[in-house]
Amino acid sequence: MSAARDEILGRIRTALGPGSDAAADALAARLAAHPRHLVPARAQGLDRAQRVALFAALAVAADATVARVAQAADVPAAVAQYLAARNLAARVVMTPDPLLDQCPWPSAPMLAIRRGVAAADDAVGVSAAFAGIAETGTLMLISGPDSPTTNNFLPETHIVVLNEAQIVGIYEDAWDRLRAARMAGGVALPRTINLVTGPSRTGDIAQRLELGAHGPRRLHIVLVEGDDGGAAAER
């Protein structure tokens, strides 16, 4: 390995004093166990309805808008309605996510849909979230063949579909779901995990907050209540 690497690690070890193999084993065990620290009470011990309510309240507080629909069949109409109400063109780029295939898009014939990676001229993106985190009203989107990261940032309006069964209380619960779903057998994390809390913003000109800096100016979350008792959470 490089001389710089050896020297930096050497200086660190000299400063810290000698370690031992036993200590290394204990540290490896700590990594494997990934213990939790103190967790805020606000998002713990909530039932599903309370988690959804907290998630929605904090997402709105972060300048997102939230709509709730009863089932996947209602999503296309909700998307079309949202766009119409804001005079936005009914043309969307949608990720190829299989979750979105559950929605009957032909039921909203006004909506022009392209599936794929967002391009510079796509004004509206529709994506599906892996999870919602009630503690801060945050969406968790992960990259993969069906969920390009670009779509979370290029379009001016981002619409995210989330099954309510996928809303967890705290970040630690989201990590556990992620590890179970995507890291089993020692697989590396997906390339990109986006935790999104509200639309893009900046306060860099004269300390005045403006939405829509480089990412989306609007973030709209469509929550799907679902009637399957949480089976849709498995992904």
Partner: protein, 475 residues
């Protein structure tokens, strides 16, 4: 960046006379970050307990820094990335340049990175024919103005909107000169359109890292604009600039610090975008970078381990200490003369560029202690500044008059039998002279004080003599 920290006094003097700067700083201190932080802290009852837990976590990480860095490296490589260890700023610049050259880069987009400022990466890229484009709006504004950042979270906080508009007109020559630019919204839309082109054209994207996660080999960035995400998603190559103390063991550990970071920095519950990046795009991924490089920078940090300054390595760069500092609030960030201003800069700068260069910075404190009281990882900033003052004194860096004055005081203070009668005599004398109005408008040798405000006259008796009398009465 050539440091001008030696000129702190002159810099500060100039800053105090700059009405535009004073307007921006006044607004920030009255209505800005500190107020929103207080509101966010009030919403989270566990905040104090989280601070203590974060301090313990960072101490634990520093105790095993070698193990976590090696684990981090292994996991970066497992995910298809590479780690480049760099002892110095020069090595870090060379590592970045080599990656950019190998990628045939002409345009490099950049997310905000204080390590990038520290190693002066933009100058190095420009000197080699590569165009760096800052994409954080604040960083973009100061880049086109050829200024350094004045704040580690809000780099353009010192500017009024008129100054930004003027710079946009001077730089964006292709646009209609008559366009209105009096609202921040108009300037934001203009910058958004211009930088959008750059995002799409860039060959390499450089971001910083708020945290590195050993368990997963990931880097984490926290932004509000989304520029860091476009920077790292669209080009073929993603370079992460990170210093060695940014590593944490697990996602749970990063979570603890994330719960404190945004609340301490901007008073948000959570920043808009927290992004965890691991390695390269995977088979079948339709986007993301094909190469992922972590340039891991020491640049003086390993020398702080095991020293009295080790606590400084806990810093997570939230800027709460700047936002609560009466000195920063009065003179702004540029007066500090290098990359890191405010109390954290007063401790870190001497460590990185030498106390000889930066001895004035730890002097720029009233030791009011607000910085330590708001620090999310409980760094004893006043104590660390005091340590630098001691070193500067030992190295005979302060002016001779100051050293002699202090030396004389030390001589007396160590000899109570001499000190007490002298202090009592001085108090009697000043008390008698000031009896009329109870304060002095001018006093020999104290012009630095009395030029700006009156000096209250002493009561005429020293504390020690009052105390002795009181004890006698009680007995």
């Amino acid at each position: 960046m050539q440091p001008s920290s030696r000129d702190f006094k002159a810099n500060a003097h100039r800053a105090l006379g700059d009405a535009t700067l004073q307007g921006a700083l006044g607004f920030m201190m009255r209505e800005g970050f500190a107020v929103r932080r207080a509101e966010a802290v009030a919403r989270l009852p566990e905040f104090e307990a989280l601070r203590e837990a974060a301090k313990r976590l960072k101490d634990e990480v520093l105790q095993h820094l070698d193990f976590y860095l090696e684990t981090f490296e292994r996991n970066v490589e497992r995910a298809g990335g590479a780690v480049h260890w760099c002892r110095t700023a020069a090595e870090a610049r060379e590592a970045v340049l080599t990656i950019c050259r190998d990628a045939g880069a002409r345009i490099v987009t950049k997310g905000k990175s204080m390590v990038g400022e520290e190693i002066a990466i933009n100058e190095a890229l420009e000197a080699n024919g590569i165009a760096p484009v800052e994409t954080d709006l604040g960083e973009y504004i100061i880049q086109i103005r050829h200024e350094p950042p004045s704040h580690i979270v809000a780099p353009a906080v010192h500017l009024a909107k008129e100054q930004v508009a003027e710079s946009f007109r001077a730089t964006h020559r292709a646009l209609d000169p008559a366009r209105p630019l009096d609202q921040p919204r108009q300037m934001l839309d203009e910058a958004r359109a211009i930088l959008r082109e750059k995002f799409l054209d860039a060959d390499v994207g450089i971001t910083g890292a708020n945290f590195l996660v050993a368990e997963t080999g990931s880097s984490i960035i926290v932004t509000n604009e989304g520029n860091g995400d476009l920077t790292q998603t669209l080009p073929k190559v993603h370079i992460v600039l990170a210093s060695i103390e940014k590593v944490v063991p697990t996602l749970e550990d990063a979570t603890l610090l994330l719960r404190l970071l945004a609340r301490s920095a901007t008073g948000q519950e959570f920043s808009t975008y927290t992004t965890i990046s691991t390695g390269t795009r995977r088979d079948g991924d339709p986007d993301g970078p094909a190469a992922y490089h972590v340039v891991l920078v020491d640049n003086g940090r390993s020398a702080l381990l095991g020293s009295v300054f080790q606590d400084m390595l806990r810093c997570i760069r939230c800027a709460a200490c700047l936002n609560h500092c009466p000195v920063y609030g009065a003179v702004g960030g540029h007066a500090y003369g290098w990359v890191y201003p405010g109390p954290m800069g007063a401790v870190l700068t001497p460590a990185l560029i030498g106390v000889g260069e930066a001895a004035s910075l730890p002097e720029a404190s009233t030791f009011c202690g607000r910085c330590e009281s708001v620090c999310p990882v409980k760094i004893p900033l006043p104590r660390l500044m005091r340590h630098w003052r001691e070193r500067a004194f030992a190295a005979r860096l302060p002016p001779a008059t100051q050293r002699w004055g202090l030396g004389a005081w030390v001589f007396l203070a160590r000899r109570p039998a001499l000190y007490r009668p002298l202090a009592a005599a001085a108090a009697r004398l000043l008390g008698a002279c000031g009896r009329g109005r109870g304060r002095f408008r001018a006093l020999p040798l104290a012009g630095g004080w009395t030029d700006k405000r009156d000096l209250p006259a002493p009561a005429g008796r020293s504390f020690m003599s009052l105390w002795a009398e009181r004890q006698k009465r009680r007995a």
